[in-house]
Symmetry: C2
Subunit: 116 residues, 2 copies
DNA sequence: ATTATTATGTAGAATCACTACAGAATGATC
DNA sequence: GATCATTCTGTAGTGATTCTACATAATAAT
């Protein structure tokens, strides 16, 4: 069942969303997904089948690292934090997104060339 | 060889770019790709291996239809135009993109909530 | 005639988000 | 203290779509 407002993520955007979320400080998978959902006014929902593989991917690439701790709710949880390489990657993906959305806007709205 | 400014397309955006291009009138594959590239200031480049499968996909779904004609440069070319269903699909994908880029902006830039 | 340009196409790899399922540990309720 | 709900992590397999790399054809230009 898909809620009325929900949109599917575009491929290639999840890493960026996760890295950006971790810029606020260490967090665990479940909380990261909730943060993305809440901050986007329920529009973006990250499924667990996307979330955990993405976290493992980011960890394997050295952009985040992990340690088991206890969450606010008293459950064991794997806390992730940005590495220095991860901060660089975040900056890179942010500028890539900015460029891409500018380019998309130019094609979708060619009259008002440089609005954004 | 990849040019300095070029960005890879995000999966799911090509259909929208093609449909939007055809809103200006019938056009053929080669010209559609050039239009997207030019309008985006060379940032978006559509490869032929993405372009033609996408056109066939859109045609199979009834969003565009085709006829062989002669191009400006005097070569045979398959001209595509939007069908009524294609116009609906374009509107749908445009609003989906607007929503998604708004949602992304909210996560990437949570301080200035409703700027765009 | 030969070469460049315009134009369409396919095969196969790679990526990545999804659905659907499974499991474990703690908190809450009766 | 047994049962249920909640929190949290995870995997297998599917599907969609863009990419690289290659192949082909027809007309224009030299």
């Amino acid at each position: 069942m898909i809620s009325k407002t929900r949109i599917e993520l575009l491929q290639g955007t999840l890493d960026l969303l996760i890295l950006r979320t971790l810029q606020f400080g260490p967090s665990h998978g479940h909380a990261i997904a909730k943060h993305i959902q809440t901050t986007s006014a329920e529009m973006l929902q990250v499924e667990t089948g996307s979330l955990y593989p993405a976290l493992h991917r980011l960890e394997a690439q050295g952009w985040i690292d992990a340690s088991w701790e206890i969450s606010d709710k008293g459950k064991r949880a794997k806390y992730y934090r940005l590495t220095p390489a991860g901060k660089k990657q975040l900056a890179l993906e942010q500028s890539r997104w900015a460029k891409l959305s500018r380019a998309m806007a130019m094609v979708l709205n060619p009259t008002q060339q440089e609005s954004q």
